[in-house]
């Protein structure tokens, strides 16, 4: 049946029978129906199908239904709550798509929450006051687990201990900072301070043993190694470079590493690893931020207090060992073989001591001097003087780059499948085969549920 011989399609005939046509269309189709035997046959066929469906009847609704619904209506009208909570009812109506979207949204929210929390932690550690408190709290717990006496002390008067720690921990930073400002050789001074504190807590002067010294020391002098990363975009690169050098001189810092890139027809950039005295860090960072627009910033602090205390304790033990060995060498007599053995042992212990001293200095230097990783980039301004490539060359280059990109992509995909293909195949067999079987069972079950 085509519309070239019939002005109306069979669906319109059906729509007429269903009363779904407008009056004008209905009259037109109806008059055509009277004249066209083919369309009439279609109408008869549709009527017949519809009529046959009337023979499929269902029994009357049971009386119990009426009673139960009336009871529910009465409850509802009297203000009582009926049925399950709305959220559970709605959840049962969700389709697979809605469940997928819902679960996807939940995962996204969770990820967002985690991602947004991460910078907060970084900022938390970046703040001088708060950053110092957080590791201390952790330190108190960590120390307690390692030393029974310390635990008891903390259990008895935790508030006093923490408050005394808070009041004292800020002091070394300030003192050291001012010393550093006064004297550029802050490192040596700081080392002396630590050496003094170490000797004050030696076994001969104090009743507590070496292990306890190591545990209690961090509570008095928290050591935070600070790291700041800054990415700055500047308009005037030369001026910013000069400001950077001036700032380093003013803040008594230095550049541990610096590399500048001044390529032609490209923005100039500078990458530097700066070392700034910890007390000057916030001022130095503020100075650096004034160089231009901050593109990226991150701050972190590593608590090395426990590490330092352990190092001091080990160093002290090694020194004592060395002294004992020296005493053996001077006071005892024996075979030449034994003497050589003792000397070898002294040399080994001395080596250990020197390594630990170097490590101690390094640790203290990291605390004393904060690291600032700076990336300074110039805002690029295209120059008219720069010789631009001709259009044909650029088209050629673009085509070559495009072809290379395509080839790389295809190769990458191929390599990926060659590399991961066997694993994916096995994984597919392991997971997809049972999933397929279950899906077929589900479809069959769903079909059997329907009429």
């Amino acid at each position: 049946m085509s519309t070239t011989t019939h002005p109306f399609g069979p669906e319109e005939v059906m729509a007429l029978l269903d009363g779904e046509l407008s009056q004008a269309n209905a009259q037109a189709v109806s008059s055509h129906l009277e004249q066209c035997a083919e369309c009439h046959a279609i109408a008869d066929k549709l009527r017949g199908t519809s009529h046959s469906l009337t023979q499929w009847s269902v029994p009357a609704a049971p009386k119990t239904l009426e009673e139960s619904v009336k009871r529910l209506a009465e409850k509802k009208l009297s203000g009582e709550k009926i049925g399950k909570p709305n959220i559970f009812v709605r959840a049962t109506f969700w389709t697979w798509k809605q469940w997928t979207v819902g679960i996807g949204a939940m995962i996204t929210v969770l990820l967002l929450f985690i991602v947004t929390r991460a910078p907060n932690r970084m900022m938390y550690s970046g703040s001088p006051q708060v950053a110092a408190k957080a590791p201390l709290a952790e330190q108190a717990v960590g120390t307690g687990s390692g030393n029974g006496r310390a635990v008891r002390e903390l259990d008895v008067q935790p508030t006093d201990r923490v408050s005394s720690v808070f009041s004292s921990h800020a002091e070394p930073h300030t003192t050291t900072g001012s010393d550093s400002a006064a004297d550029s050789n802050g490192l040596m001074q700081s080392s002396t301070e630590f050496a003094v504190s170490g000797s004050q807590t030696s076994p001969s002067d104090s009743p507590v043993d070496g292990r306890e010294i190591g545990s209690l020391l961090p509570l008095q002098q928290p050591m935070i190694a600070r790291t700041v990363s800054l990415s700055i975009v500047t308009k005037d690169f030369a001026a910013s470079r000069a400001s950077l050098d001036a700032m380093l001189a003013r803040r008594h810092g230095y550049a541990a590493e610096l590399s500048a890139n001044t390529a032609e027809n490209a923005p100039r950039s500078l990458q530097a690893a700066l070392r700034i005295p910890a007390a000057e860090l916030s001022s130095a960072v503020a100075d650096l931020k004034s160089l231009g627009r901050i593109k990226n910033e991150s701050q972190s602090g590593e608590d090395v207090t426990q590490q330092h205390a352990d190092l001091l304790a080990r160093l002290k033990n090694s020194r004592e060992t060395e002294q004992r060995l020296q005493a053996i060498l001077t006071q005892r007599t024996g075979k030449i073989k034994d003497v050589l053995e003792v000397e070898r042992e002294i040399a080994r212990v001395r080596g250990e001591i020197e390594a630990m001293e170097a490590e101690q200095k390094n640790l203290e230097h990291r605390v004393e001097f904060a690291s600032v990783n700076l990336q300074l980039t110039e805002e690029y301004k295209a120059s008219l003087n720069a010789p631009a490539a001709s259009i044909s060359t650029r088209i050629h280059n673009a085509m070559v780059a495009g072809f290379k990109g395509l080839a790389e992509t295809i190769l990458g995909i191929l390599l990926f499948f060659l590399e991961a293909g066997p694993t994916l195949l096995v994984a597919a067999l392991i997971f997809l085969a049972p999933a397929w079987v279950l899906w077929r069972r589900y479809r069959r079950a769903a079909a059997s549920v329907s009429a």
Binding site: D18, W56, A60, A61, E66, F93, L438, R441
Partner: protein, 222 residues
Amino acid sequence: MQDALPAFVLSPEDVSRSAMNESPSTSPHETAPRPLTDEQLMLEFSKGSAAAFAELFSRYKQPLFGFFRWRLADPSPAEELTQETFLAILRASSRYLPRALFRTYLYAIAFKILRAHRRKAAFRATFLGNAPAHRDPAARDSADIAFLIRHAVAKLDATDREVLLLREFEQLSYAEIAEVLHLPVNTVRSRLFRARTALHDLLAAPARKRTATALAESEEHV
């Protein structure tokens, strides 16, 4: 479709079958005072009228029960699902806004409940190994025309079947079916035509072969 003619010609008997047409509101020759429409009754009920709900229930009790009976192989949950649909109506009555026809609203809810039931039943059968639903014993034991029609309808595409049943049994207009199933009206029309044609062909197949196949497949289900 606003000025569409009333359904008139499929078959004279079909008209009497329709629950919608049983409603006094649709009778053109009624001389009694014009009764309230479904939407008005629902609004009355949302204001606390028990009589309004009783009237609505009496109008839709049988059509809704039939809705589930026609669509489920196992007849036992039909009563529970009908009750659940009325429960949903009761719960949502305070938020009801007459933006669409009440019966479209009602069948949309019923359709969601039916789909949730099918999903749960299929899930149980798949993962918990529950026995598949038993078909209506009366229908299974007889090889009469009703059983053959049921079997033929079950062979239709799922969406085509829903369109056909909503049109034939619930007597919804194309626009109403489109709203319930979230389909374009033209799609509803073409699917309905396809379903009717396919059903006609299935019913017109040689009776002997049809009966034998139907019975064999029904035994498989058992």
